[in-house]
Assembly symmetry: C2
Homo-oligomer: 432 residues x 2
């Protein structure tokens, strides 16, 4: 069988578009189990590899609605564990504001609860707004990544502490654990000392899938060394090809084959029966964006207050901030390339938060996804529906069948774990 | 209607008895969603107020099986949120090894996911075995409680940051949040600086229920000031009455009425059709305890290595350890009162981990529970089935109907939230 795409859905209950909740029939809450259950059902109907919940550790009343009042992703995924059967369940958890023991445990636990479908998106928490909720100063980018490198290693180590078959539960002798198959980690590093073992046994996938989204130099190195799936933030084909090649090219240096990571650029498909209809939908969405929301979103993405810049001036050449390099770089380089004003940049972030938007018919969208997939820019895509459920229903009912007809995407699940969907092998246990 | 009992079930998948998993038909895993789902179904059939998951942050291969390989409680409860309808869902989360922002968020999130049934058991993590998993030294008892006092205050404060009605989601204007109803906390204390607001809106119960189990002097003060439900560790009626009076007596000093806390002693019922049968079941259970397991459990409870003491010597007068004062005190005072040997004490902890055991017929057990309930020793009970599902089925099918016939316990749910089951009012929002 030809190489197959992998598809994820990026879930924000009010839609990925900042004003998606204002569309007719759209959900307007990200604090409801029934909303995410509905989204998960659509994703399973579309044979998606995974559902993904981002996260943030602060609330601003003018932010994207789903960034303000949101449920905590791990609890939300665990609730979905009980009501889904095949869908991978991925969530962000910070390497800056958590303990590795707690993170290792929660994702291992989730992997048990859902029978091998859990994925951890290791992020360094780029927003400086989180720090005051943890009595901290926002660590600089480089320091966050040094901590993250060690944090991820500890988590991977804790996931190996139990070999398969350590629980014997022999009723006749009373022996419950085979102690020779449970190991301490005894990690002593620059930032963490963690003895172990974890108090959760080896999980159904061997270990949960590791997601990453960092696109800076240290972000790409961390991903090349440890990730199974990478979400990338790109705005056009050439940029996506370059990012793809850069990441995959680093992998042999870490003793890994390029196929061991699936690179999924984020994309917001805007679907119409005609191209004009798609453009009209996008225009309608953009008309719903309030200037307060757009300025807040852009300010967060660029890591600076942008309210002082006149809307009709060109975006100047600005230094990269100490927040998320990925978003800032994608936005600022697009602004330079396309000679954008601040108003243009507001519109761009308001739409897909810095991700790439394709508007067109199902066939147009499938063409573009195929071109990227076959042209060395992607192993699949992280789909960002502008609103739920309508825009996601549209993608699953119109675009997915088109991809299936072209032999690019599965027509039914052939595995029961996320690792299986991704075609990845269960990793060898370092203690095994 | 006469005053009604409240019932909780303490869930350890392999049973509360250390060797319960060896009973015929018993579950032998605490790492399975289907096991806890089954237990939750039994609890809802019995109209229980809540299901409770304890926790620990380390694994020892000779510990109670459910203390060694266990799923993380919040993920497990969140999974149950989707498959239960009335049952309160309570879990332990440590005030020593977590950040208050993360804990506030997870339980608020859980409360949204289950429609108002979440409860947080604030514990200080008494076991010194947790510290090396977090690069820490085990803080002494007094220091743990000073941190816990402030931690609980921060969590309660974060739960108030959003007033009811803060989410307006006005589609026509695009206004999503009423900013005047979202508040920063601006906490600056001895141990924590937390700005807020939380990024979860006010939860269905106003705030999740707060559980506590500390029985030391600082533990009782913290509970009297902040708890809605207290689990107590007691071994006989007089001790239970004294603990009950001591806790309730502290409440007016914090401006609270004694009815605002439900005190639920932990009890392991061992049921038989006759008293002899019940004694036989207990004997069978005890015969399954291996000496390694019993020594490990007792050592953990007393906070010292007990393997050097000859089994047939009397338990000497020992100082209270720096672990859990509640268990150590209950065990050591019972050993003194009843002139026990180390072997007796091993047997006692092996059974119910230091909790109280009643063996008898359904009517005997109902008599004792009624006596405690009416005699000023309890507002209900935290039931610790020795194994699952059999011992819990027995309690729900035999003892609960007996309590219902006596008018002591509800015959159906009359509320949809845990706060409603407990007869507690939604707290006033400090910012409201």
């Amino acid at each position: 069988m030809a190489r197959q795409m992998h598809l994820g859905v990026f879930v924000l209950g009010t839609g990925n578009h900042i004003a998606g909740w204002r569309m007719p029939g759209a959900y307007d809450s990200f604090q409801s189990l029934s909303v995410v259950q509905h989204i998960a059902r659509i994703a399973e109907r579309g044979c998606f590899d995974l559902l993904f919940l981002g996260d943030g550790l602060s609330a601003g009343v003018n932010d994207h609605p789903s960034f303000t009042a949101r449920l905590e992703p791990i609890t939300m995924l665990a609730a979905l564990a009980a009501t889904t059967t095949h869908l991978g369940l991925g969530a962000t958890s910070s390497t800056t504001y958590n303990e590795p023991f707690n993170v290792a445990r929660q994702f291992a636990s989730l992997d048990h609860l859902c029978g091998g479908r859990a994925a951890w998106n290791a992020v360094t928490s780029s927003s400086p707004k989180a720090a005051p909720n943890f009595g901290r100063n926002h660590p600089p980018h480089e320091a966050r990544y040094r901590v993250a490198e060690e944090f991820v290693d500890v988590v991977l180590g804790l996931w190996d502490c139990w070999e398969d078959g350590a629980i014997v539960a022999e009723r006749d002798t009373g022996r419950y654990i085979d102690g020779s198959k449970v190991h301490t980690l005894d990690h002593e590093g620059e930032f963490f000392r963690v003895k172990g073992p974890l108090n959760v046994s080896r999980s159904p996938q061997g270990r949960p899938i590791v997601l990453q989204a960092g696109s800076s130099e240290p972000g790409q190195n961390l991903a090349a060394r440890t990730a199974d799936v990478v979400f990338s933030v790109v705005q056009d084909f050439e940029e996506a090809r370059a990012a793809y090649a850069s990441l995959k090219g680093r992998m042999p240096g870490y003793g890994r084959r390029p196929e061991e990571i699936a690179v999924l650029p984020g994309v917001m498909p805007i679907l119409g029966r005609t191209r004009q209809e798609a453009r009209d939908v996008l225009e309608q969405l953009q008309s719903f964006v309030t200037s307060t929301n757009a300025a807040s979103m852009l300010g967060n993405r660029l890591g600076m207050d942008v309210s002082g810049f006149p809307m009709d001036e060109l975006v100047p050449d600005l230094p990269l901030p100490d927040t998320s390099h990925g978003f800032a770089k994608a936005m600022l380089s697009k602004a330079r390339r396309e000679i954008m004003t601040w108003r243009d940049l507001h519109n761009l972030t308001g739409a897909a938060r810095g991700h790439w938007v394709i508007a067109g018919t199902a066939s147009d969208i499938a063409d573009t996804l195929q071109e990227w997939f076959e042209g060395g820019a992607a192993d699949g895509f992280n789909i960002l529906p502008a609103w739920f459920p309508g825009a996601f229903d549209g993608f699953v009912d119109e675009v997915v069948p088109e991809l299936q007809r072209r032999g690019l995407f599965r027509t039914k699940y052939t595995a029961t774990t996320l690792r299986g969907h991704l075609g990845l092998e269960v990793p060898v246990n370092r203690f095994g």
